[in-house]
Amino acid sequence: MTEPSPLLRVRDLKTYFVTEHGSGTARAVDGVSFDVRPGETLGIVGESGCGKTVTSLSILRLIPEPPGHIRPGSFIEFEGRNILTLEPRELRAVRGNQIAMIFQEPMTSLNPVFTVGDQIAEAAIVHQHLTSAAARRRAIEMLQLVGIPDPAERVDHYPHQMSGGMRQRVMIAMALVCHPKLLIADEPTTALDVTIQAQILELLERLQAELGMAVMLITHDLGVVAGTADRVVVMYAGQVVEQASTVELFARPLHPYTEGLLASVPRLDAPQQGRARGRLHSIPGQVPAATAWPDGCRFHPRCPYAWDRCRAEEPPLLDANEGREGEPGTHRARCWLVAEPQRRTARP
C-alpha cells in the first residue's frame, strides 16, 4: 500500500550523558526509533526517567553538549533532511519554523521581561522577516487563533499578568506563528488544572485540524493519550517498549509494562465498589537508574512473567501482527512474550 512518507523519521537515537565522578554514563535514550506521519498525533508515553523528554530535545538538538551528546549512529530525518548534519544556520531555520516545541511550565518558558506580543512576534521576525508592525499584527492574529479574549489589549501584557492556562496558550501561539509542520508538545497540560487542561487539549485538536500539523505529544497521562493520539509509543528505560495505534494499545496491550500501567491507573469509569474496592494493581519495584540499566530485558526485574530468556537476552521490537490478522508492523512490542505467547500465564 502507498502511505505518505513520514514527516519525521527517528532511527536508533542514542543520547548519553556523562555524570560526575564516575557514576558512569547515563544512557538516557538508548536506541529509539519511530516515525511521525504528516497530520497525525503521536503520543509518547512513559514515566519519569524513561527518556521521553530527552528524545524530544534531541530531535531539535537542544541537548546541552557537555554533559550530553547524541551518539554517532543516531539518525533523525525531517522531510527528507538529516537533522543531525545540518549546519547551525540551517538548523535555526528549522527550529521554530518547521518544527516547534512547547514545554510543560509556561511560566519558566516565557521571558518575564518581554510582553507576550514581543515574544510571539520574535519568531515571525526571525523566520519570516516581517517588519515589527507586521509582526505585531501577526501576534494579535495568533492570540485570536488560540482563543485569548481581547487580543489587541493582551498583546502588550507580560507573562505574570496572565494565568497558567493563558500562558500556555501564548506558548502555543508562539510555536504556531510560522505554521510548523510538526509541533512537539512536552507535557503541555501536566501543570494545569483539569478544566484548563480540557480547554488546551481542545484547542490543540482544533488547531491541528485547521493547520494540518503533526503533533508529537509527550505525556505520562494515559487518559490524555487515549483522547488525543492516533498512535502511541510507550517508553521505558530509554527504549521504545511498545508501539501501536491508540485503539490497539488500550485494547490489547502486549508489553507487561503497558499492561501494568493501564491496570494501575485509578479510573473514573471504574465501577464504584465502596469499601471493598480492593487494591490497585501496582508494578512492584521502581524505575532503574539510567547509569545501570538491567541486563537482558530492562523490565525483567519488575515483570510478573519473566523467565530465563528475559534475564539473559534483550528482546528487539517484535512485530505482533506477523503471521496473524492485522497489518504487519503496526503493533510492536519489545518482549519475548510476542514470540512465546504461551508463557503469558496468569499472575500470582
Binding site: F17, T19, E20, H21, A26
Partner: protein
C-alpha cells in the same frame, strides 16, 4: 634563626600540606567537596590558612626570640634581614619574624573570635526576625538598619578613645558587637524562605515548638550563607583590627599584632621597609586566602546547583 627553628618551620609547611591533602581526600566523596576544589585558588588558599594557623600554634617553636625581646637596643635597630634575623629587626630591635609568628596568634585569633561573636548574634537575631516576623521582625530590622548605618571604625575609635586602654578580649567583643548586622540580614532572608518549606510545616505538625524548629530545622539549612559570610568576614575583621592597631587604638604595644607592627614600622619605611612590609604582606596573604576559600565555599554550598 637556629636549626630547630628552620626544622619547625619546615614542619609547619608539611603539616599544612598534610591538612590540605586530608581535606581534599574527604572532600572527594561529596558533590560539594568536589565543587569546592574545582576552584584553582581553593587549595592554595586552604594551604595558606593552614600554614599560618600552624605557625601561630607553633610560635614558640618557629620563633627564635620572644616577641617583646628587645635584642640590642643600641646596635640592632632596623637591621636588615640576615641569616640571624630572617625578616630583620624593627625600630625597637625586636625580631620581626618572631613578632610575626606570635602576632599571628593575636591577629588570627581576634579575627576568628570576633567573627564567632558576630555570627552568633547575627544568626540569632536574623533567625528570630525571619521566623517570627510581624512586629518582632520590624523592630529588629530597624535596629539592624541603625547598626548598618553606623560608621563602624569611627564608632570603635570613639569607644576606645573614651575607654582608654582596652584589653584584647574587650576588643574582640567590641568588633563582634559592631559587626553582626549584615549577617543578620542574610540569615533573615534565608529563614524567610526556609520557613515556607514544607519540612518546617512538618516539624510544626509533629509538635515541635519554635525553638526546636529554628535550631534543628531552619538554621542547619541556612548554614551555607552563614559559613560563607564568616569566611569572608574574618578577612574584614583582620583588616579592621589592623587598621585600629595601626591608629594606635587596637592591640596595645608591646603585644604584637600585624596591625601595630605596621604602625611601629611605618616611620622608618624609607630606610627599613621590612618591619612594616612583612606584616602587611602577611595580612594581604591571609585575607586573599580567606576570600579564595570563601568564594569556593559559596559555590560548593550553593544548593541550587544540582549535580548531573
Amino acid at each position: 634563626m637556629n636549626v630547630w627553628n628552620w626544622v619547625a618551620l619546615g614542619g609547619a609547611a608539611v603539616a599544612a600540606l598534610v591538612v590540605v591533602a586530608a581535606v581534599r581526600r574527604r572532600a572527594r566523596a561529596s558533590v560539594s567537596g568536589r565543587r569546592f576544589f574545582r576552584h584553582p585558588t581553593a587549595a592554595p588558599g586552604l594551604f595558606v590558612l593552614a600554614f599560618f594557623v600552624t605557625i601561630a600554634l607553633a610560635a614558640p617553636l618557629v620563633a627564635p626570640y620572644q616577641p617583646y625581646e628587645q635584642i640590642d637596643i643600641d646596635h640592632l635597630q632596623n637591621d636588615a634581614p640576615s641569616t640571624r634575623y630572617i625578616l630583620g629587626t624593627d625600630p625597637f630591635s625586636r625580631d620581626v619574624w618572631s613578632r610575626l609568628a606570635y602576632g599571628a596568634r593575636i591577629s588570627l585569633g581576634i579575627g576568628a573570635l570576633a567573627m564567632l561573636v558576630a555570627m552568633t548574634i547575627g544568626a540569632a537575631v536574623g533567625a528570630t526576625a525571619g521566623y517570627f516576623r510581624r512586629w518582632v521582625d520590624t523592630a529588629l530590622m530597624r535596629l539592624v538598619d541603625v547598626g548598618l548605618a553606623m560608621p563602624r571604625i569611627f564608632a570603635l575609635l570613639v569607644v576606645v578613645a573614651l575607654w582608654g586602654h582596652i584589653a584584647v578580649p574587650v576588643l574582640v567583643l567590641l568588633i563582634g558587637l559592631t559587626g553582626w548586622f549584615a549577617t543578620s540580614r542574610l540569615v533573615r532572608a534565608e529563614v524567610l524562605s526556609l520557613r515556607e518549606r514544607e519540612f518546617v510545616a512538618a516539624a510544626r505538625a509533629i509538635g515541635a515548638g519554635p525553638g526546636r524548629v529554628i535550631v534543628r530545622h531552619v538554621l542547619p539549612n541556612a548554614a551555607a550563607p552563614i559559613i560563607v559570610s564568616a569566611a569572608l568576614g574574618i578577612g574584614n575583621v583582620m583588616l579592621l583590627e589592623a587598621g585600629l592597631s595601626f591608629l594606635g587604638m587596637g592591640v596595645p604595644s608591646p603585644a604584637p599584632s600585624w596591625g601595630n607592627m605596621i604602625a611601629d614600622g611605618l616611620p622608618k619605611m624609607a630606610v627599613a621597609p621590612w618591619s612594616a612590609t612583612f606584616p602587611g604582606l602577611a595580612i594581604s596573604l591571609v585575607v586573599m586566602a580567606l576570600n579564595a576559600v570563601g568564594d569556593a565555599l559559596r559555590d560548593a554550598l550553593d544548593p541550587r546547583k544540582e549535580a548531573v
